[in-house]
Symmetry: C2
Subunit: 413 residues, 2 copies
Amino acid sequence: MIDFSNAHALAKTLDQADPLGHVADQFILPDGVIYLDGNSLGCMPKAAMAAITQTAQTEWAQDLIVSWNKADWFELPTTYGDILAPLIGADTGEVVICDTTSLNVYKAIFAGLSLRPDRSVIVAETSSFPTDLYMVEGVLAARGNLSMQLAESESDLLTQITTDTAVVLLNHVDYRTGKICDVAKITRHAHEVGAIVIWDLCHSAGNMPVDLNTHNVDFAIGCTYKYLNGGPGSPAFIFAAKRHISALEQPLTGWWGHAKPFAFDQEFDAAPSIRRFLCGTQPILSFRALKAGLDVFTPLSIDDIRAKSMSLTSMFVELLSEYCPTISLLSPDDAHQRGSQVSVTFANAYPVIQALIERSVIGDFRMPNIMRFGFSPLYTSHQDVAKAVEILADILESDIWRETRFQTRGTVT
Amino acid sequence: MIDFSNAHALAKTLDQADPLGHVADQFILPDGVIYLDGNSLGCMPKAAMAAITQTAQTEWAQDLIVSWNKADWFELPTTYGDILAPLIGADTGEVVICDTTSLNVYKAIFAGLSLRPDRSVIVAETSSFPTDLYMVEGVLAARGNLSMQLAESESDLLTQITTDTAVVLLNHVDYRTGKICDVAKITRHAHEVGAIVIWDLCHSAGNMPVDLNTHNVDFAIGCTYKYLNGGPGSPAFIFAAKRHISALEQPLTGWWGHAKPFAFDQEFDAAPSIRRFLCGTQPILSFRALKAGLDVFTPLSIDDIRAKSMSLTSMFVELLSEYCPTISLLSPDDAHQRGSQVSVTFANAYPVIQALIERSVIGDFRMPNIMRFGFSPLYTSHQDVAKAVEILADILESDIWRETRFQTRGTVT
């Protein structure tokens, strides 16, 4: 057994000085588990249960249809959008919560195209989270006379974004490697050639400053079930810079995006606000759970959150380098270039992840040989980090992962 | 005060003979309220609270990411689709629960167009629920080179559906009048000229037999928060006849609709099943609540449900005719032509609805002068009907609705 006492002592000291140390109390953390998968599904805020219960037992069961007004159900997409806005550097009235990330990608691409009707090229990245690319394919299939170009790297991106480019769709943080893409630089370049930029914030919203308006970003989308702790499949968000809202058009024009939804007019007339990104009736129970996740952030400083995130991932990287030398770092070595996850490669990543799960350390596996560990600054401690690496080192040293029971591949999420 | 004793006695007799009388016990009914708005938002099944609590406290809070497999979250759209299927005359594998009705309209229209690539006309109705028309507008805006024709009546519809028609989008039950459209006749006519038909079942699913496959219907969509009692904004459904599934295409091609969603391939490859209508991650809490709503139907006969629905609306119409002669029936007089709602017109419908609400009778108002009352056969009794008409008659006779407090128009849902 490796001696981890120094690591544990350091972790304890860092946790004692952590200004966010008290926040973990606001979450239900799984019993006896070190959960390093908040980049996939965030933990449940304690307040979520009360919110859901109140919504079900009072708003739904007792007040029923009256709740559309009395409980402001109809306004939740923008009310909650305004709560989320400061976390991503957006203003009131620029964010709406609705539908799914994939659907919001589709809307944002069309919105961008509507602002650049004389252009026909969409630029994205080969390393994109796949659904973003699938949605570009969908836009191409729906509309025709468009083309997609895929960039292989950040420098390739700068070459490919030209005066032909209508829309650029990029991931702020790479879902596999955790590498941060330079929002300021790419957005500036795109604007210099007149292109519209959409940022996918799935892996950055809630763990680092995003500063959308500082960087003059046009559109952004993202999910709320990772670092925002909104619950499984909680509704996604979409941001549009105020300057674009009155002009943008998108084709998912359902009644919730109508200027007068309850006039039941025969023709569509888009709401003169961010609501024009809404389409149909939103899942209220999932909205209420999400609110509990968003509320946790309100009194906190996003700079504190980022500082803790960097401290956690740095400690993990350093301990790995010391105690698990057979594992290679896939994420950037410089914490400033890295999101709140650390990805590593190992020839037998799948059985190792399975062996970690057996020891109650939850990370996730990505094809072909990637182990991905997410560090949620709101509830992960440095002591969790030290303990996780100790267990990983033990699994590697003992070769227990070679046992047959860890080799079988099930469905992997 | 009018003597309603005969009506109450009859209602009691009918309720005692009601084979569905016991079903109301499975719902939380609002205290002291006669709720005639289940056509807008259905009441909460008692089992929903336990389902949501279990999902939040165990699946989310404790099991977290493991629940995608352990709790079959990823399969819920088709698992629950298969539970819903028999209610609408569909087979296993033909229904998927997802997203919203409006979004599913968009997918279904594109799916229909993909099967009729040489045609460019979409036929709908002026009386359609508006969001269906808005979504046709969206399809036209996205794709171009298409046109929409609106029919004014059922006979006009038969004239307008021709060999130029690609897709016909119709409402099974008119949301304002409750009039049933003849699915068999229209579908047959559309098929004779080679058109694809989409039926919107929002106001029929769960209150009458729909028999999609008996009538050879191509596509159908609908919501689950009305007669299916799935909860506020519960996810919608979409049906495709098995013969169309492998060929249809729709552009909302997110990763949940991919043949291998966890392979993270760069290119989209549609699932070879009804899952190709899926797009992004679904709201699990809202799904679990919906399951409680669907489960109520499993042991019941849809013919019993329809018989009770007709009995309830017929009693309401007869009592209105006897006790509220100043009110005009907007719904068909023949119960066989009528869904599970009764709509009436009255010059001062808005203040009357407000006065009814004050007396705890909940119906809803639709512009300009329509009062709409929904009768949910699972939990509405004949005694509710008699009591509601007694109160309405009293409000009309007393002229109390003329009081100023009932005149102010708020937001109306």
